[in-house]
Symmetry: C2
Subunit: 422 residues, 2 copies
């Protein structure tokens, strides 16, 4: 390790309190969808006052302008109260630019009774910071701040531009990052600190929700032979979906997922049907989530699923005449990947090795991320790489030591990627 | 046919208008559970004023007195507003007594938009009377009235007592008839004109509702291998229930059900489970209805079902440790039967043959009826035998000609069973 890096790491070690303080401030804003405004104002203020960013762009994305884009999906009527923030720190010139992208929105915290540490207080206990967004993924914005601040305090000026994107709507289909892309923001690479447990992820899985409706014929349960149970068709459909999952995982086998039991899961999450215990159910619906492998187009995944359901219906005299419907409802996220040998991957690997002394692990994500939007629509090689490892659960937390280490890795990547002047 | 019977039938033919009028009055009361009072007052008035009944007993059953009886079940807190009526027409003596039992309650009519003929008007069109209860089973009370009135007008006095029971809560588990039994009412036989399409039914099937809860382990759908899907256990349980149905129908094969495709159906009516498309479902529940064959005790049916579910759980490593629950919720009705050669069966057969000139058909009911309560707890041989053939559906109807014929059969049975003096 160079003495420069040692100086940077030591500087960051001295800033742990400040790092935690930023993290806590960020957690305190309950930034569920529609309530991001105050938090984004806070981010803007930090970028402007604490870090001296040159340009800060804060805007509520215009839903009408985004409609029609193939990657656009939302359940909202508009994005009032939900601004995006993009701050640009101009480099000295001659270096590569980088986007640090993290979403400000969090999934709902659920019942507070489930939390031992309140979801919006940022309590620190036994080396962990607790709260909604501690891991996924507000707290890593504090790493962005401290990494840049440490470099500034050491008198280092980066050559490439640094863009911090604090985006909305990641949890609901990437509309925030898409809005940044449509506004023209791009860079030579991007880092997204989703909670990958320090795994470096050049591949991001997509996912899409489905609903399958099965139809029967109602009758009194005491004469059920006069009807046809939609529920009795379900086992065939479950079995088809299980076989399809096997087929897809073989077809799309990917080196970055080789250690994952089922890389591209198809999960049936909900089932509902029938109207009365003693009536033959005339409709049963299942809802689920299908993973989209990095090499697959979303539309191809949809078509394959529909074909398999159709094929199953053909094998059953009733379903042949009373075809199940497939609906693609709710959210969807495409998949994306960059070359495993891409320089940003190498930069990330090196930063991990330097800070931890351990070998980095490459992987693909088990969930969808905004990386895909940057890769496919902003021509920006985007890498998922973050310290967290809990998400969407009560007592979500970040290990303080992990956060400090990640901040060091970020600073290291910035110096290596963007270049610097002393 | 004797000239007496000819006289009776001719008398009844002349009373068709009056028969329809009673039927219409009965339909006009919307006697869903809890709203039977006015209709029962009307029944009382007819028995008293039009038919000169000697004793009329009208009372709201006391729920507390009934609790603890093995056949008692209700979803209600009390029976306020829901009186039973039992009228007794004393015979001249020396004859056999008979109970004519019909329930006053009807199932809810559902959306009125589904009805071409309003549910509570008793419209007559193209030879049919329409309305909720036209078939199941208010309208046959009009047959009770006219059969007795015709005999009276012909100067015939029956030797045995006739008890008309107009009962509540048949649709919700037989509490009304049970209340009559507990009050001491019994007779040498009973007729229940449930809509058996003129089939004579010495056997009545029971039924019971079940709920099976299957348990899994929740996880993110993208890592579904970290969880266990409760839904994936469902096909095994559906298959078990299908096999159990086959087993039960073989074990309890019954001559009265020999022409029925599945005499004692097990219907799974409802299914529900999961909380989110992208979450592995940790609980899935099914609800259904199991038929109880005439020769089976309800409790034995419950035990058999539980044992089969337990046995299935034993074959699955997860279910072995996370056992499905079986709940017997909602309503249950025991089964019952009388000898196929019982004199009341012969009396019914003869009445059918006389009136229609056709051979009677013996069968067992596909659903539960109050007959079981009379058979098992009042020592009263009870026979299901009625003209209707629609039930629980929009545009429920009774064919006027069937109603007239049934009235003739009733009068014939009364004369033959109770004996008479001119």
């Amino acid at each position: 390790m160079t003495s420069l890096k040692e100086k940077i790491y030591s500087q960051i070690d001295g800033m742990e309190k400040e790092l935690i303080s930023y993290a806590q401030e960020l957690i305190k804003f309950p930034t569920v969808s529609g309530q991001e405004k105050e938090a984004q104002e806070y981010v803007r203020k930090v970028l402007e006052k604490d870090l001296g960013f040159d340009e800060i762009d804060i805007w509520e994305p215009d839903i009408e302008e985004m409609r029609g884009h193939k990657a656009f999906i939302t359940q909202r009527e508009d994005f009032k109260g939900s601004p995006n923030v993009v701050g640009t720190l101009k480099g000295a010139g001659g270096g590569k630019s980088i986007i640090l992208n993290s979403h400000i929105d969090v999934v709902p915290e659920g019942s507070h009774d489930e939390w031992c540490h309140p979801p919006f207080q940022g309590e620190v206990a036994e080396g962990k910071i607790y709260g909604r967004g501690a891991s996924d993924m507000k707290v890593t914005k504090a790493s962005f701040f401290i990494a840049l601040k440490a470099l500034q305090q050491l008198g280092l000026k980066l050559k490439g531009d640094v863009l911090i994107q604090s985006v909305i709507e990641e949890e609901a289909g990437s509309a925030g990052t898409l809005a940044c892309v449509l506004r023209g923001y791009k860079a030579d690479a991007a880092i997204l600190p989703e909670p990958s447990v320090f795994k470096i992820c050049p591949a991001t899985q997509g996912s899409t929700w489905f609903r399958v409706n099965l139809y029967g014929l109602s009758a009194h349960g005491g004469k059920r032979y006069e009807g046809v149970s939609a529920l009795e068709k379900l086992p065939q459909v479950i079995s088809t979906i299980q076989q399809l999952e096997i087929y897809r995982n073989e077809k799309y086998a990917h080196p970055l997922y080789k250690d994952v039991p089922i890389p591209f899961c198809i999960n049936i999450g909900n089932v509902e049907g029938g109207s009365w215990p003693s009536t033959v159910p005339e409709k049963v619906s299942i809802e689920g989530r299908m993973g989209i492998p990095p090499a697959e187009e979303l539309e191809d995944g949809w078509r394959m699923f529909e074909e398999w359901i159709d094929k199953t219906a053909e094998t059953d005299a009733w379903m042949k005449e009373h075809k199940p419907d497939v609906e693609w409802f709710g959210a969807f996220w495409g998949s994306g990947q960059i070359d495993m040998e891409h320089p940003i991957v190498k930069t990330a690997e090196q930063s991990y090795q330097e800070v931890t002394g351990m070998s980095p692990v490459l992987a693909g994500t088990p969930w969808a991320t905004d990386a895909r939007v940057l890769i496919d629509f902003a021509d920006t090689p985007a890498l998922v790489f973050g310290p967290g490892h809990t998400a969407h659960c009560p007592d979500e937390y970040m290990v303080v030591e992990d956060l400090v280490n990640y901040t060091k890795m970020l600073a290291s990547m910035l110096v290596d990627w963007c270049g610097y002047q002393e």
